[in-house]
Amino acid sequence: MQATLTEQQELIVESVGRMTDDGISKAQGVLKGESWPSDPDSALLQDWVGLGVPESMQGAGGGLLDLALVLKTLALRIVPNKFSQHAIAVQVAMTAGLPVADALSASSRWCLAVAEHGAEPFGPFQGKSEGEKVTAEKNGVPHGADADLAVVVLDNDLVALAKASAIDSASSADPLNPCASLSFKASTSIGVATGARKGLMRATALMAADLCGVAQGAIDLGASYAKERVQFGKPIGIYQGVAHQLANAVVAAETAWSLTLYACWALDNDSDDAERAVHAAKAKASEAAVFSAERALQVHGGMGMTWEASPHLFLRRALAGSAFLGGAHWHRRTLGTAILKQHDKT
């Protein structure tokens, strides 16, 4: 037991942090309709894409937490990137034992296709495979429109690697998270394997880490504004009505981060409580991200309501991330059901 980041993990945070300095202004650029920035994606897809994938699968090694730290750090300043979703999709494919070498060589960018109309977040799903033919209707696929391949979650715990036969780009509430609906009509898959649930658990823990970053970033944004903005002759951060809302957000964000750290560890160590830990982490990270972004907006006053100020970008990112792979309510309820079942057994 030594629950502190290792030196190597501190280095990950530092190196990725350096790539995100101008993250918020890049996000503003995307909001204004400028083209998607090539950095830091190009560097990330070049140098970081193998992290969290075992060397036996041509990855760079390292655990789920190492990758989670990358995602959290990228989310802190909401730097526009497609890397995070790519890495999440790779984790799901990798867990099922599908070949991921192409996705690690920067030649192919992947997306994760899970949600179906009318299905619970973790299934059961309608999507199915017959032999190598995949048939599924997936929606809300982040960065799905321009992905080279989709990691498609199907019924019977199956995962397939396939190219969509039709793509419908939906307009997304979060400009940094453009979503698409993907249709697979007896599409030929590159591979099908079992292990969807395990992969979804890893993907969900990574989304929790991403949301922890959004929460922390929103708090930082709110705090820096509260130090500058002067009312009644003083910076507004001196007033407890302002300061304490941000402190409440810190508590929410810390709650989420503790749970996320543990969930990543529990998954990598096949701990008995790993699934429960993932539900706890995603529930609290979703809550923390939305709550923190709302607090940042409130602290900004009227400015927070403007299109050009940044709080709504954090809020949109928080909402989109919360909805993906199960919202707070679903994860809380799933966790609650699990502990009630366990009690009934004992």
């Binding site: 030594q2 937490l65 407890q240 810190v250």
Partner: protein, 381 residues
């Protein structure tokens, strides 16, 4: 980042588990205050006799000199089994660690082993009627006389004061300087204090008011330097933020486990609102457990625990409050009838929990600490 035990830690955990399983059969749960106190007294005697106190305290003062992570393992196993709380909790949690930082060699040699054996039982004389959150404004004074000081004043909200033989007390030793600079800390006998229990809203009387009328303390009983009491107090309050939540997280886990049982008894397992609420509580109680491991690990690695401390205190207070409030809601009017099945525990626990956001630094103080130290916002006071 590693949450699993090293070989050494696993062996220690097995040893702790074995001991607890053996001795806890002698300590069945009791509800009534005097029974709880008697149980705490014999529990501490048993812990002391078998060498489980002061695990992370220096060896030369009666401890075992181990890493705080071993202390944490011991605590985790106690929590898992719902073990009692030692009678000299405040001595173990607050006074001992403060003496370790500020005490003279003589004080450490004398007092620390006596804290573990409960030869002395301690309380903490900080808050006063006119100074709660604004602790530095305290009015109790200590005037220098031949060979020591004479203390006059009044303290309040003194937990365990009625059980204590000793009091770590703050008093003003210099009236002429700024309020933080004229305070000293003393290790006083409570023999000549007039201690009056205050009845709490749940019917317990484990906090007190203390009237101190010309009580003499000797020169050797000054803790830390003269007029340096504020620094001593900051050490205690820093320790308090962490250790209270660390040691009393058992109240959160215990309350949640009982709530789960209550929901099942009521046949509400399939009610999605219940599932949602219990899932949220489970996540919060887990976050406290993990947060304490993170914070202890930081200390063990020689890092100062930072933002975690006030955060954990807030998480803990609200988890216990929210869980016990929800249990009353689930229990319905049955729980508001004295003597009804389950009512004693839940009403008692709920009412007691209202104090968790007040004791050991109010919610408002904790949030201001986070605002200033974590977020770097300007000081409001």
């Amino acid at each position: 980042m590693d949450f699993s035990d090293t070989k050494e830690q696993a062996a220690f955990r097995a040893e702790v588990s074995d001991w607890l399983d053996r001795v806890l059969v002698d300590f069945p749960a009791v509800e009534e205050q005097s029974e709880r106190e008697a149980r705490s007294r014999s529990w501490q005697a048993r812990m002391y006799a078998d060498g489980w106190l002061g695990i992370a305290w220096p060896k030369e003062y009666g401890g075992r000199g181990m890493s705080p992570l071993f202390e944490a393992i011991f605590r985790q196993e106690c929590i898992r089994r719902n073990s009692p709380i030692p009678v000299n909790l405040l001595g173990i949690l607050l006074v001992g660690p403060t003496i370790i930082v500020h005490g003279s060699e003589q004080q450490k040699k004398y007092y620390l082993p006596r804290i573990l054996s409960a030869a002395d039982t301690w309380c903490q004389g900080y808050s006063e009627p006119a100074t709660g959150s604004d602790l530095a404004g305290l009015k109790t004074r200590a005037d220098e006389v031949q060979d020591g000081w004479r203390i006059n004043g009044q303290k309040v909200w003194t937990s365990s004061g009625h059980l204590a033989t000793k009091c770590m007390i703050l008093a003003r030793t210099d009236q002429s300087v700024a309020k933080h600079k004229g305070i000293s800390c003393f290790l006083a006998d409570t023999e000549n204090f007039d201690i009056r229990p205050l009845c709490m809203i749940n019917g317990d009387a484990d906090f007190n008011e203390m009237f101190i009328d010309d009580v003499f303390v000797a020169k050797d009983d000054l803790l830390g330097d003269l007029h340096n009491g504020w620094n001593v107090a900051m050490t205690t309050l820093g320790v308090e933020r962490t250790s209270v939540a660390f040691n009393l997280q058992v109240w959160a886990r215990q309350a949640l486990d009982r709530l789960v049982a209550l929901v099942c008894e009521k046949g509400l397992q399939n009610d999605s609102y219940m599932q949602d609420q219990l899932g949220g509580f489970e996540a919060e109680v887990e976050a406290i457990r993990i947060g304490t491991i993170r914070s202890t690990s930081a200390v063990a690695a020689g890092k100062r625990p930072g933002q975690e401390d006030s955060t954990i205190k807030l998480q803990w207070a609200h988890a216990v409050q929210d869980i016990s409030r929800f249990a009353l809601e689930v229990g319905g009017d049955q729980f508001l009838l004295a003597g009804a099945e389950g009512s004693d525990f839940w009403l008692h626990r709920y009412l007691r929990a209202r104090g968790h956001s007040i004791e050991g630094g109010t919610d408002e103080i904790q949030k201001s600490i986070i605002a200033e130290r974590v977020l770097g916002l300007p000081r409001s006071r």
